[in-house]
């Protein structure tokens, strides 16, 4: 058995461990970094970088109050939200650090795992019978519909670069990005921009949603989880951070170099994830939230941009 050979096995195990560490440990730090950048722009000190970790640990240990209206569906939302985000993360590589699991068509599983998490979250919001949470659920469903095509246009563009006989694996697909940049940099830039929009809308960041507003009619994700408290809210916060990291890893897959050295790849990956968090913080500090009615226009434009990217790469 060649793969039991320690010379082959050890780097493989190390890569998987590095990937798991980034996927499971880093996410709350990114959220903390975004908050820090926003505080800097607002001229405040802001909460400590590690605050999200403290919040999650504290919430997991607290008691909770559950609405009498709700059923088991209310608790399934947070549970599936976290489980699907982690499972999707196991399929997404971080630049040169390949994903622990890869198989033909895994990109579809990533998209539909995130959809399962969204479906459970929406139902858990509707389970409370609150008008606010219904409102958030409706908006979440709408924006997800409009964001999905942009993601898939990107997949198609990269799939066209793959050699004919290669299997359709996410790792190989993102590995074609350097070829894409060399062949049609304009197309790749359009797809990167569209995926940045997907990152912002899927994670409910400004300009689509404001994660900091509470008690307002304009928000989406925060309003869906108004009734969750204690451990359930802790699971939701952690799940949301993991989801941000997973989609961030997808986006960075278009940009990151593949060095072939684990330490270098890890440094690039973690560094660029932190850079992405700073970028999101800068976007959030320098833009206002869009009017709700304008959001679909922007999402459709993003999908069309990605479509132009496909055309540019197709005629390269």
């Amino acid at each position: 058995m060649t793969w039991l050979d320690p010379d082959i096995l050890a780097p493989l195990v190390l890569r998987i461990l590095a990937h798991l560490a980034v996927l499971l440990l880093l996410p709350p730090l990114l959220i903390g970094l975004i908050a820090k950048v926003k505080a800097f722009f607002a001229g405040r000190n802001g909460p400590p970088l590690l605050q999200p970790y403290y919040d999650i640990v504290k919430l997991l240990r607290k008691g909770t109050i559950i609405s009498r209206t709700t059923t088991w569906v209310f608790r399934l939302g947070p549970v599936l939200g976290l489980v699907t985000a982690v499972l999707a993360g196991l399929l997404v590589p971080l630049g040169g650090i390949s994903a622990p699991i890869a198989f033909a068509g895994d990109l579809l599983l990533v998209a539909y795992l995130l959809a399962l998490g969204r479906f459970a979250t929406i139902l858990s919001a509707l389970d409370t019978g609150s008008a606010f949470e219904g409102m958030g659920a409706s908006r979440e469903a709408t924006y997800a519909c409009l964001a999905e095509p942009a993601l898939f246009f990107g997949f198609v563009a990269l799939a066209m670069l793959l050699p004919q006989d290669a299997e359709l694996r996410l790792g190989d697909l993102l590995g074609m990005a350097p070829v894409g940049w060399a062949a049609a940099a304009g197309g790749m830039a359009l797809i990167t921009a569209a995926w940045l929009v997907v990152l912002l809308v899927e994670n409910c960041r400004i300009p689509f949603d404001d994660p900091n507003t509470h008690l307002e009619l304009t928000m989406i994700h925060e309003v869906m989880v108004l009734d969750h408290s204690g451990p359930l809210l802790g699971i939701i916060l952690y799940g949301a951070a993991v989801k941000f990291t997973v989609i961030g890893m997808l986006l960075l897959g278009l940009l990151l170099p593949r060095t072939g050295h684990l330490a270098l790849d890890l440094a690039w990956g973690v560094g660029s994830l932190l850079g992405l968090a700073v970028l999101v913080g800068v976007i959030e500090s320098s833009m206002a939230r869009l009017r709700l009615l304008r959001v679909p226009t922007l999402l459709v434009s993003a999908a069309l941009l990605a479509g132009f990217g496909v055309i540019l790469l197709a005629v390269r």
Partner: protein
């Protein structure tokens, strides 16, 4: 004994399932359930058997008509359809035993009679060995379907739905008969298997394909032939709707498969047309579903969507055969066929759930329901499984088939057949819209607080109903988990549908991984669920917080229309809803109309079927108007007709002289 004998037994059992009810009072419900159960089991066995050992059964006597014996044949093409029909028939029979009782429904014996005939007709359609047997079985099925749609004929909407169904099924037959005549003309034989060797280039063959497409397309509910589907499914009793939506519309897909499988070299336009129709049907079907406020109509529109997804797969496979792309053939065919079975399972599950809700609350209007998950826990859990499955969410069966179709579309784009990009975008849009639509349906019906006293007083369905729903939900999960076990059957069936392509032994990519992912979701979800359940023991309960609002009422909840509004507003051009609202001038500064206190006001928003009301209805009216013009030539007086005869004879005389 072989697969064909087995299917003959199944047909007989189904056709005779209503007999016990005629012999002994009170035995009808149980007898019908047992008869349909046995028929369903035999059909499943016959389907699986025929996959590896195709079998034919001729009528024992001499020729019934000149040169026609009547024959049954089971092979790989019919296998998937027989299995789907078997499982759904058994579940529908079981559900009907509790749901449609003699005590509540005076016409229940008739319903059982036609239900048995419908199942027998469908099984015979799927196993007919020749064109004439096929057409006879088709007619039995179509007419039994008409009687079943008209079950509640005292309601005007049921009568209207039944007439519309009858018109559509007549038009379908009107297309199929000349198609069958052309078939015999081209092949010189009645047997389905004789189509190979016919060249498709000539106009007669082309006309045959188009006529088959019209006939089968109307039955399958492909846009624009879908108009009969929503009213008929809404009007029929729910276990009948389950059978109609799960299996009856698949007879159209079966016909398309059967004809396509016979072609040696299908032309690219044939697969391309199916793919285009599939893309259009899937997007339009789900869009109309999003605008529907009636639970069963909503499900019916989703049938149109899923027929579209099946066609995407089958069309892709046919194009793959035309351009010689093996990956497209295996993935498209396996995905499309598996979706036939999957849609039969989850859609009948959803219709049975809708039936249980209708029975418990007396209404199917989404905005009058709510909070049923507390009152009907089993129905709610089963409906949620069906909803997740139809949205193609793992770990259920819908994901598995769409996974294959998606991969086929990617293979087509990579293989240089760029049209597949349209299909891919349609499938992506459909997925997102279906998720929104089922979040709406499941959320508004089962979650939150009841929106009407009827919903507040709902009760759980009886044991037979619950067993039928659990059976189907179990099948949905089993296929989601068991793709590797299904793989040999699926590739065998795909090979039968795409003869000539070396697909039989090609493994489906990543079958094990899909199962593993489904298992991981369940295991991970279970572990985290256990943790939070232990953590939350003894947690307090209170009213919904609702931002601190102290006096919430159920009427303040988001309704189905408000949930879908952000999307339906975007899709206004396709939905064309009809809105009724009071004259708003009374509220503005118009001195004549202004009143100090606004009177009672109401707002209603009715989705309509734009294809029927904006396009087909005006065309039909124009046709009727032309017929009125034709009446000028029909004064009803004898001498005028004699004059016509004389003129015709003179014209013929002149023509023969010249």
């Amino acid at each position: 004994m072989d697969a064909a004998t087995c299917i003959a037994i199944a047909i007989a059992c189904a056709a005779l399932s209503s007999v016990p009810g005629g012999l002994r009072r009170g035995a009808g419900a149980v007898g019908s359930a047992i008869g349909l159960g046995v028929a369903g089991g035999a059909a499943v066995v016959a389907g699986c058997w025929g996959l590896w050992a195709p079998a034919t059964l001729g009528a024992p006597s001499a020729a019934l008509l000149d040169g026609w014996h009547g024959s049954l044949a089971v092979d790989g093409v019919s296998a998937v359809f027989l299995v789907a029909c078997g499982i759904v028939a058994a579940a529908a029979g079981l559900f009907g035993a509790g749901y449609w009782r003699d005590t509540d429904q005076p016409a229940a014996p008739w319903t059982r009679l036609f239900l048995g005939l419908l199942v027998a007709g469908m099984l015979a359609v799927f196993s007919a060995g020749d064109v004439l047997t096929f057409l006879i079985a088709w007619e039995v099925m179509a007419l039994a379907g008409f009687a079943l749609v008209a079950t509640q004929h005292r309601r005007s909407e049921a009568r209207a739905a039944a007439w519309l169904y009858l018109i559509c099924t007549r038009v379908a037959t009107l297309a199929l008969i000349p198609a069958a005549v052309l078939f015999v003309h081209l092949t010189g034989s009645l047997a389905w298997s004789s189509l190979s060797g016919v060249s498709i280039g000539n106009p007669a063959a082309m006309a045959m394909l188009i006529l088959f497409l019209i006939g089968f397309g109307i039955k399958a509910g492909i846009v624009p032939g879908h108009i009969w589907l929503p009213p008929a499914h809404a009007a029929a009793p729910s276990h009948v709707s389950a059978l109609m939506s799960g299996v009856l519309i698949k007879t159209g897909i079966y016909g398309i498969c059967r004809v396509s499988a016979g072609l040696d070299a299908p032309p690219v336009w044939w697969g391309g047309t199916l793919l285009t129709l599939g893309a259009v049907s899937s997007v339009l079907g789900v869009t109309w579903a999003l605008g529907s406020h009636d639970l069963k109509r909503l499900l019916a529109y989703h049938s149109i969507e899923n027929i579209g997804i099946i066609l995407l797969g089958l069309g892709l496979a046919l194009v793959g055969r035309s351009i010689g792309n093996e990956a497209m053939v295996i993935l498209g065919c396996a995905g499309g066929l598996l979706h036939v079975l999957n849609h039969a399972l989850f859609k009948s599950l959803l219709f049975l759930g809708a039936g249980a809700v209708d029975h418990a609350c007396g209404t199917r209007q989404l905005d009058r329901l709510g909070g049923l998950a507390r009152r009907m826990p089993v129905t709610a859990a089963c409906f949620l499984v069906g909803a997740a499955a139809i949205c193609a969410l793992p770990p259920f069966n819908g994901f598995v088939s769409e996974f294959l179709v998606y991969q086929g579309l990617f293979a087509a784009v990579r293989g240089g057949w760029g049209w597949a990009l349209g299909g891919l975008i349609a499938l992506v849009l459909t997925g997102g819209l279906a998720l929104a639509c089922f979040a709406k349906a499941a959320g508004v019906v089962f979650l939150g607080e009841p929106r009407s006293p009827a919903a507040a007083g709902a009760h759980e369905a009886g044991l037979p109903e619950r067993s039928a729903m659990i059976l189907l939900a179990g099948c949905c999960l089993a296929i989601g988990l068991g793709l590797p076990l299904l793989q040999p059957m699926l590739t065998q069936a795909a090979a039968a549908c795409a003869p000539g392509a070396a697909v039989a032994l090609a493994p489906l990519p990543a079958a094990w991984w899909v199962s593993l992912a489904a298992a991981a979701i369940i295991a991970g979800g279970w572990a985290l669920w256990r943790w939070q359940a232990r953590r939350l023991v003894g947690s307090g309960s209170a009213g919904t917080w609702d931002c601190g609002y102290a006096a919430p009422t159920p009427r303040m909840q988001y309704t189905a229309s408000s949930f879908a509004a952000p999307l339906t507003d975007q899709l206004h051009a396709v939905l064309l809803p009809e809105r009724h609202h009071p004259d708003l001038r009374q509220y503005d500064g118009n001195a004549d109309a202004v009143r100090l206190f606004p009177s009672q006001a109401a707002f209603a928003n009715h989705p309509r079927d734009p294809m029927l009301e904006r396009i087909l209805h005006p065309i039909a009216q124009a046709g009727a108007w032309l017929c009125v013009l034709l009446r000028i030539a029909h004064p009803g007086q004898l001498h005028v007709y004699l004059l016509y005869l004389a003129l015709a004879l003179i014209a013929l005389l002149l023509w023969s002289l010249a």
